[in-house]
């Protein structure tokens, strides 16, 4: 008997009619003979409302109380869906993080799942009862509610799937799968029927918002077959995340991702000597700033050089403060920043075996007159920082150049 996890995001459970619709989708799987665990998000808008209330009372607040407030959203959905399922004749009960329990780290507000006890869930599933699990939440070792950070319900779903050794984890959302790029920018973008975990991980990290990065990491680690599909057109096929070996046709580039959440910081005239990088990035790490791309200019005089790096826009202020505090230790002349930049990336496991893939990207940008400010590469992706105003042009040009426009 198949054991599956179905996850529904906020727009899928936005109102009572949609919750009834979701109950219908769950019922269909139960009637096909599956054991089903469902993971739900808060109703669309609820989490934002609860966060706004908390911030309004105190911009800087205790993350443990933030968790108490926002976790209520998923709690409500879990109870309501259990009621809707029972009303349609399907035995179901809701589970909150502390009841299973889903144990997490103590980093309230952005906790990591550490352990899920599958015993209670498996017992009920084997009795034919649907488990409706509040996503996004767990319980920390201090016996207080913890939450996983935005989009955390994806992670809850994959972690539950791994814990109960589910045959499949279906992520139902408001799009019908993973696309070659954002269809709002490229109308000819196509849905991918399959994508390798590694590719999806890069896509998610680089700006594609369809899945939380952490959820893909866990799926990859535990080899959970993960499907992304539409709540509103559930028979559309969706996109299956799978092992590289299970993908037959490997194009050099699978997808194009972009992110506008980029800020560029440049330190001018820093000493060109050992230890200066540590003097810069140590204080940034201590301030909790994630540095993404880094480029250091070749020194002209062998004494002074410039260093540029990027951070997310929300961390810009914190990064600049940290740099200023560390000014005596670093010894730069001045610091400038630019938020009108964006990152565009090409991703594909085929890069490992195809040559000239990055070259095609640079040539395409040259033809369109797009200046590349920073470059960063890995085995299966190339990211470049460009002026934000060129984003749509760049994505469209790359989509055509790598022949993603055609099926």
């Amino acid at each position: 008997m198949a054991k599956i996890v179905m996850k529904f995001g906020g727009t899928s459970v936005a109102d009572l009619d949609r919750i009834r619709h979701v109950a219908g989708l769950v019922k269909r799987e139960v009637e096909r003979g599956a054991q089903v665990a469902v993971v739900v998000s808060a109703m669309a808008g609820e989490t934002n409302k609860l966060i706004a209330w908390t911030r309004d009372l105190a911009p800087l607040h205790d993350a443990r109380e933030y968790d108490v407030v926002v976790a209520a959203g998923e709690q409500v959905t879990a109870g309501l869906l259990a009621v809707a399922l029972s009303a349609s004749g399907i035995g179901a009960r809701s589970w909150l993080g502390w009841q299973i329990p889903i144990r997490t780290s103590g980093m309230h507000g952005s906790a990591r799942i550490e352990q899920i006890d599958p015993a209670l869930l498996n017992e009920r599933l084997s009795q034919g009862q649907v488990a409706v699990i509040a996503g996004f939440q767990g319980v920390a070792s201090d016996n207080r509610i913890s939450t996983l950070g935005r989009g955390g319900s994806d992670t809850s779903a994959v972690a539950v799937a791994a814990a109960i050794q589910a045959d499949r984890c279906d992520i139902y959302t408001d799009v019908d799968g993973v696309y070659t790029t954002d269809p709002r920018i490229v109308p000819r973008a196509r849905r991918l029927s399959r994508i390798a975990y590694e590719e999806m991980l890069e896509m998610a990290s680089l700006g594609a918002k369809v899945l939380q990065t952490r959820s893909v990491e866990i799926a990859m680690l535990y080899r959970v077959p993960l499907r992304v599909l539409s709540t509103f057109e559930p028979d559309g096929g969706g996109t299956l995340l799978c092992d590289e070996e299970d993908i037959v046709e490997k194009k050099p580039v699978t997808g194009i991702a972009y992110s506008r959440d980029e800020a560029k910081i440049t330190l001018h005239r820093i000493p060109d000597k050992p230890g200066v990088a540590a003097a810069i990035f140590g204080p940034l790490a201590d301030a909790g700033v994630n540095v993404d791309m880094i480029v250091q200019n070749v020194s002209e005089d062998g004494k002074k050089t410039d260093l540029t790096f990027t951070v997310s826009r929300s961390e810009l202020h914190r990064a600049l403060e940290a740099i200023e505090r560390a000014a005596p230790a670093i010894g730069y002349r001045d610091v400038t920043h630019d938020v009108s930049v964006a990152k565009v990336s090409i991703i594909g496991i085929g890069m490992r075996t195809h040559s000239g893939v990055a070259q095609m990207m640079f040539r395409t940008f040259a033809e369109k007159g797009i200046n590349i400010e920073v470059i960063s590469t890995s085995e299966i992706k190339v990211s470049v920082l460009i002026a934000e105003e060129y984003v749509e042009l760049a994505v469209r040009a790359l989509h055509a150049a790598y022949e993603l426009d055609t099926a």
Copy 2:
């Protein structure tokens, strides 16, 4: 050092500004040197919204899921108030029912508090931390959230006060105390500075909505000094619930209560013989119907008689069904019912020592031409059933007759 419990109802925490105001009231007590536990309701309207959602999905739903959904309201308020307190410099943390824990019976939706472990709360209170407790909820022995029924946060507050042996429990609400009667009917109604537990218990049972009956029972049982006062005019003095001995001036009647939630059922021509009452009220009890007033006519022929009793309007349908099912065992000719009735009551511990108190009530009604349909009495109250249209007239006339209009 004084240890107090402060309870705030839904209108007191209806929005962020009011939550800030409540934080101010708590801060004031802390700065006076008190150890403070706060019990909060859901923000006004939230509970009704959550109940409506649950009912919309399934009029008959699993009470355990209902509890999961509605308990989220108090959870949000508790977290928000803890944030507001911290923002104003007061150390605070939120507590959910399962964290303390507040153990209840398994009657989900209308559970009774069975035990509150005071250890964790007392430890934090003694460290100067304010405990912000989600009212209305606990945890049942199945490790699932339970709720106490409407108005249950009052009960939470009093039970917490009893458990931690608080010096005082202050119930902050949108009125400034307990009145001699409903001021919407009698503008000259006066706030009582003191009322005996027993009187308040009758007032609450008989229709005064200022406190949940169960909370008064617990306060009386554990001798918790209970004050009702206004969130918006906290220095108005309020009303203190206390022992009978602590009330100096004992008027014969302390207050007038009324209830429109009454339905009258009459069984005509039942056999006038032993066992018939059991045949009627047994099935009603089995159907979960609470019977209030009962009157049996004197039999004229020694064989047949009529019997009238009252139930709350929401239970009328269930009561009639139970009676119909039991028809063969009872043997009545026909059954009639009337929902256009209301109950008016006079309450006062002074009745024990004053004579002629009930007589004054009957004379007043006679003068106003109000017909009394059923009478029920106890040591400290007299209740009568009258036609609903006379309610305001009756209450006003009694208020004047018992000299409650004058201070």
